[in-house]
Symmetry: none
Subunit: 538 residues, 2 copies
């Protein structure tokens, strides 16, 4: 059976750069291009050379090995020849395998934004594509506002697409620039373009997520005949984002409706690295991955409910739309007060702890977890605290050190210059091997001061926690008023790239933070000894 | 032109409760049910009475006013009559207008999970629906795993749907439980069900977001004929979430493809509160709203400086797929925000403060608010702090008292009996009318101690704040790590029943709390003098 090839065009480095809060440096771009190239994208669009110094610098070399490296830019302006247009010249002198020219295809924008006639715009498209082809590069044309333009003046939008194709563009990409087009409209309009003579094999789709349907719009276009999909890693992009290529890659490969008819450059083995790709990109952006992301989120294959959980363990396939391993993700049956014994055994097994169903220590662990969860602990979000608790009850955890006392002080007063100042200071008294050590630290607020003091001197263990870092700190007030119970969740990380979450609960936020900080340090020490999850209940 | 009615079924409180990390208390559920009811949902599913103490308690009263209040539960088991089934009895004794029964419609699950015959399962559906109808309640049946079941054994899946309908179910809801079905399959299978004799007017769709297409699947089902959509606020739910009702409501109302044929219970005026609804829900969950959420995200109508920005200001309609005001959101052009001033004047007007567009103090207020919001203040959620700030800049606020200094200490140590104990103590030095007063208090944690000390002795104002109470306290960490910036929101109340929110921001949680506590007290003193919002800029 021969399947038709769908080409993946990644625009993370170009359109993804429009995401509020995201600004790539040249180094970022080099790292991301390499991720994309190694993963197997067909096209990697690197940016807009000539538009800003970063992109100009980035296009001084070819930045991909296998993928086609694409430069983005505008068609030539009216009134100058292709060879005299400075923008087009900058584009042609950039090091790239292909050039993607953006062209207006909504007559209103031709008039208002370009200020030229409809016919001049068609000439510009034609001449620019010919110049790209003459330079030996693959030419593509992004038809901006294509769907809205088609609704306003279908003949003109079609003329733009046809002109690009007939001038020699390998791909004519239909853009839903404002992101509001619905899947049935996409199907209908793509079909009209094909009927007009631009073959589906030369058409691409560029969708935005303004109605939460960028993925659906891309697939609707594929059904209607397009064979190139443009999108970004994790769906970053202007406003609500672009089509999420991570989701699309998995769906095209794993959903029979598509996989029976189409194939991409990503084979089954590579697909198992999809979760890693998505998380590596978030890591580069220095943000936490979305736990609910399709296929690759930490919760994508997580089950909480009691009823489902035990059935799921019996036969996962009937409760999972695809196998988590196929995208390199993991099944997760969560520890929570809704879960039963089977959940617990499974949660422990995932941490390398095997315990028999009849072991009385298991009942003890379950009752302690339930009791603590009733007072506000949330072990489903604090893997490391759970592993530590389980290790303590099912095995033993060494007493590395003991905090005998601590004191935290926050003082707001006028300093010597008469300015108001708030100072936070913590003093910690720790006993390691019978020896008492006192540490003091100032911090940005009481929790930071306590954290710094705690990790300042752990005697012989100090060198071991040198690479321990707090990555995130969350506070949740569990009921109203300032005397409420507070839950603190802390995410820690170390040089190995591992991440773990710990929890603390108290009516005192400092106390709750202290518990979570302590768990994090002890977990790190166990981890250094490879002792996490190694205690099989004897 | 008559349009067909689409019914909105909200399952935030039932299926949304399966979201990892989300656990609703009875109070949470009451607050959310009220949000949903006031917004205009047709059905509010509250949970599963009998399954856990929270839901049982929640169903002791009807919790909606206009919306139909729905209880969820299982069909009766095989081998007992409907009247002898304890689960069904619990369900029938809950206070609800409608009952949604979940029924297996995949033969494999009937065998493996229920352990009964296919025929027995049909009997259970029939008898349970009849029992619900006999109790005077509206009956609905959620056909679990309907689409996967249909693919495995279409005749049986159809028999389940037909049995439910013929037994008197007002709605037969087709569930894509595992979330992997694609839009074309949804269209095809829904059409088959309608062809089999269950009218579209009696069909609902329940979609999950495992391939990022829960919204598209819901709309595909509507196109194929269903007239009820199940979903959740902001798309919360198990794994990758449920269909996002917030997005669907906007798309059904604003996209001509749908709005020309369909209507929901949400009119254009109510639609303008959509952004507020989405954000209020996140506030209840104590999480930051997703800036890239369709329609309601802070970035949904944001444009980064560049080509689009100036064209957008010339004619926003050609760069925005819908008008941001239509969903109560704002246009955001990152170069210069033209919409800002009018928004401010409106916000002030709502608080009884009239100010002219040309008043230079207005520009000062706007720049201070923008500057503070950039550092983390959230005046949207802190009405009283906003009113206070506006009063200070547009008029005057008396210096009732001044806090010269404070000191908060948290100490963890062994007490006289050798038990670990954490003590929090605060000392505050306040000047009223030139007289210095020192107060000290112990509390449950540092913020509580500070609150108690602050309100212990305000001299001649003490009697005025005797009825001031803190009703809620929220903390949000605005960026990672324990040195992060912290935002504190405090809700206060007094004997009059008034409630007001104040905000504080600092890298020190105690300092942030102090700011919010101070604002709350000063607001209360102004309120006692009827001076809030009375300062019309002269």
């Amino acid at each position: 059976m021969t399947r038709e090839r769908i080409y993946l065009f990644d625009t993370t480095l170009r359109d993804g750069q429009q995401t509020p809060g995201i600004d790539f440096s040249v180094e970022d771009k080099i790292a991301i291009a390499s991720l994309l190239d190694q993963f197997g994208m067909d096209y990697v669009e690197g940016g807009y050379p000539g538009a800003n110094p970063t992109d100009t610098e980035f296009f001084k070399c070819r930045r991909t090995d296998k993928a086609s490296f694409v430069a983005f830019g505008m068609t030539k302006r009216a009134g100058v020849s292709a060879s005299n247009d400075p923008g087009l010249s900058a584009l042609l002198s950039a090091k790239s395998d292909a050039i993607c020219l953006v062209a207006k295809s909504w007559d209103y924008h031709v008039e208002v934004a370009l200020g030229c006639t409809n016919e001049e715009n068609l000439d510009n498209i034609r001449a620019s594509v010919e110049a790209v082809v003459a330079s030996g590069r693959e030419a593509m044309v992004d038809c901006e506002h294509f769907f809205d333009g088609y609704k306003a003046n279908s003949a003109y939008a079609l003329a733009c697409a046809k002109t690009a194709f007939e001038a020699g563009a390998r791909w004519v990409v239909l853009c839903d620039t404002n992101g509001g087009t619905q899947p049935p409209e996409i199907r209908e309009i793509v079909s009209a373009v094909i009927a007009e003579g631009v073959p589906g094999a030369n058409l691409g789709i560029h969708a935005h997520n303004d109605t939460g349907q960028a993925v659906a719009n891309s697939l609707a276009a594929v059904e209607a005949g397009v064979r190139q999909i443009q999108g970004t890693l994790n769906g970053i992009g202007e406003r609500c984002g672009n089509a999420n290529l991570v989701t699309l890659i998995a769906t095209l490969a794993l959903k029979e409706t598509y996989s029976s008819r189409f194939e991409t450059g990503i084979d089954a083995e590579r697909l198992q690295e999809l979760t890693k790709l998505a998380h590596a990109f978030d890591e580069l952006l220095n943000r936490s991955p979305d736990p609910q992301a399709p296929y690759v989120g930490a919760s994508a294959f997580a089950t909480k409910a009691g009823i489902h959980a035990s059935a799921l363990l019996k036969d996962p396939r009937t409760y999972e739309h695809v196998a988590p391993e196929s995208v390199g993700n993991l099944r997760k049956v969560m520890v929570s007060d809704q879960g039963g014994k089977a959940n617990f055994i499974n949660a422990l097994k995932r941490r390398g702890i095997t315990v028999s169903k009849d072991d009385p220590r298991l009942d003890k662990l379950i009752s302690i977890v339930k009791e603590r969860e009733a007072t506000g602990y949330a072990y489903e979000g604090a893997d490391a605290s759970f592993a530590l608790l389980a290790s303590r009850i099912l095995g033993t955890v060494p007493d590395f050190f003991r905090v005998e006392s601590f004191r935290v002080m926050v003082e707001r007063r006028f300093d010597a210059n008469g300015k108001l100042k708030t100072v936070s200071e913590a003093v910690v008294r720790v006993i390691v091997d019978g020896e008492t050590m006192m540490s003091v630290a100032e911090g940005h607020g009481p929790v930071n001061a306590l954290d710094l003091a705690l990790r300042k001197d752990l005697g012989k263990y100090q060198s071991e926690i040198a690479d321990l870092e707090l990555a995130d700190y969350k506070v949740r007030i569990l009921n109203g008023g300032t005397e409420a119970v507070t839950r603190v969740l802390i995410e820690s990380t170390d040089r190995s790239g591992a991440r773990w979450w710990t929890v603390g609960v108290s009516d005192n936020i400092i106390d709750a933070s202290f518990q979570a900080l302590m768990d994090s340090i002890v977990y790190k020490l166990l981890k250094n000894r490879d002792q996490v999850g190694s205690i099989a209940a004897e």
